[in-house]
Symmetry: C2
Subunit: 332 residues, 2 copies
């Protein structure tokens, strides 16, 4: 049977574009024992995927040129040669960008679509939810009354970070790039204030104005100039969770900026980089708590859905210009 | 009685020089109840004192123009109007740069010169020792077999950090600026290797060569280019203790350098700024352990002594060109 897949055509220098991707038609292999034929219904696109397009050692293997891209996805089982899986099951895992795939059962996890819609397992009950949960609570340990700033506030992770910080009774200040996003975050998601980094003429001052008691916690999804402006407003004993640096992912030169160590030193600041894999032993704790908050109505969730398998590259590129509000999902 | 003191003549821009200091002759006040007349015998000069010459809020108040500088000192009591102190006692505290001073008893602590020579209370049994102890053990938590890199390795703090890391059975690599210092650190203080940052043509590679298993812990006393080269060699889950940034203390513009957050993020690195005041509740624990190691011969100690009260400015400035090996002390 012929199957469509999207591969890495070449490693991008700077911002990827259409030439980064190639569409191939390939023959699916026959199922061996332990294999499962799956058909994805939802694909997740996430900023970290840009890093996998580069060669070199990182916390996750690089994509190979000529091989399909891959990412978080929800799929239905078409045929199973593995114990514990049957046709019709709904599963999640890191799956190739292909209309169908034969994968080993170990790569898949069944999900409960009665608890939440299937796509939620790519967002609030998946990697972005866990990233927000552990990155905020475990690293930054926000205390009631403290001020929490989150950049990329309208993104998949940021929108959850802000809400989890509100559950901790913090003052929550977001940073986002459009008035629509700002209105949504303050009106529907409980943010106390949101700064527009695109229109502010003095971002350091705008953040100071939005944070009259200074910044105790900074959850950083973006890096670059935005983070410089937040760091200039840190309180003594502030904590920074380094989750993403999307502003820098498509730079072609080594990014340069003001040195931050003097500020971190004199204010006794903690900065911790992390990737969600560090917390794999605690995933069930995180999903349990996120699902509970969701059912209690304490967490709200929103997705930007793009339709069609062929739209995957465009959806991924859209992340870098802030096209999404909440989780960016491609429905196949 | 006339008394000599050294005051801040003006706030330096960039590197301080002789014009930063002024020598005054002042009348000592009469002793009130609770006051003590002291005569310093040893003054400590430390890099953090440069920061106090700048105006503005920091973790410690700025020096005032026209007022005497101050720093850690050992003194003998000449006359006491306070309970618990008598003429002849040896005390330590943060004391004005003056040949004699009238200070309140609360600013002083008696020291035991049978346990160690008096000047040690300005070094291994004082702030530098505690800084090395807590900054390394509490923040970086080095494990046996890990590689610990310390910059400013021949300085008051660095020379202790390396030895404490050896007690933890780590591989210890120092960074220092002269062949004499390097010979001393490897031959007398147990460092496994020391890189000369002044003569290396490729510091990143020199550190990589000295750290074949990468860098697990970095105790940073200097900042700037040296730290960039260490950070490029960090292992996953590395820990950085930000203790000093002496390379940047005399810059007149905001220091700029490669952004470090992408590296900290993808390698899950922790960076923690600290000042020793954060650990004030645990000082007795630290001093106890340091004194024990000293008595057991597990810690060795060295000082650079400059003679004469008038040499204080020159001794302080000497820190910024690496004139000291181990603790820089001025004996009065």
């Amino acid at each position: 049977m012929k199957n469509k897949q999207i591969s890495l055509a070449s490693r991008p220098k700077g911002m990827p574009d259409a030439s980064t991707f190639q569409f191939d038609s390939v023959e699916l292999p026959a199922l061996k024992s332990g294999d499962i034929l799956i058909q994805p219904t939802y694909f997740s696109v996430d900023p970290y995927m840009r890093g996998r397009m580069n060669a070199g050692k990182s916390y996750i293997p690089a994509f190979e040129v000529g091989q399909p891209l891959a990412g978080g996805a929800v799929a239905k089982v078409i045929e199973s040669q593995a114990d514990g899986f049957a046709a019709g099951d709904v599963v999640t895992g890191s799956l190739p960008w292909a209309t169908q795939s034969v994968v080993s059962a170990g790569a898949l996890k069944k999900i409960d679509t009665n608890l939440a819609p299937a796509s939620y397992y790519l967002g609030i009950l998946g990697m972005p939810g866990l990233t927000a949960y552990f990155g905020l609570l475990d690293i930054c340990k926000p205390k009631a009354g403290e001020t929490v700033v989150v950049s990329g506030a309208a993104g998949a992770v940021g929108i959850l970070v802000g809400q989890i910080a509100k559950i901790q009774r913090c003052r929550v200040v977001g940073i986002a790039g459009s008035d629509d996003k700002i209105a949504m975050l303050t009106e529907s998601f409980g943010f106390d204030a949101v700064v527009n980094y695109k229109t502010s003429s003095d971002l350091k001052k705008s953040i100071a104005d939005a944070c009259p008691d200074g910044v105790d916690v900074y959850f950083d999804n973006v890096g670059g100039d935005v983070s410089d402006a937040v760091i200039a407003n840190l309180n003594f004993h502030a904590r920074i969770s380094l989750c993403g640096q999307i502003a820098l992912y498509n730079t072609t030169e080594t990014p340069v900026g003001p040195r931050i160590q003097p500020m971190l030193l004199t204010r006794s600041v903690l900065m911790q980089g992390f990737t969600i894999g560090n917390y794999s032993k605690r995933f069930s704790e995180g999903i349990q708590q996120l699902a509970t908050w969701l059912q209690e109505g304490k967490l709200h969730y929103t997705e930007t859905t793009v339709n069609g398998f062929d739209a995957l590259p465009e959806a991924l590129l859209g992340l870098f210009s802030g096209q999404n509000t909440g989780k960016m999902i491609v429905q196949v």
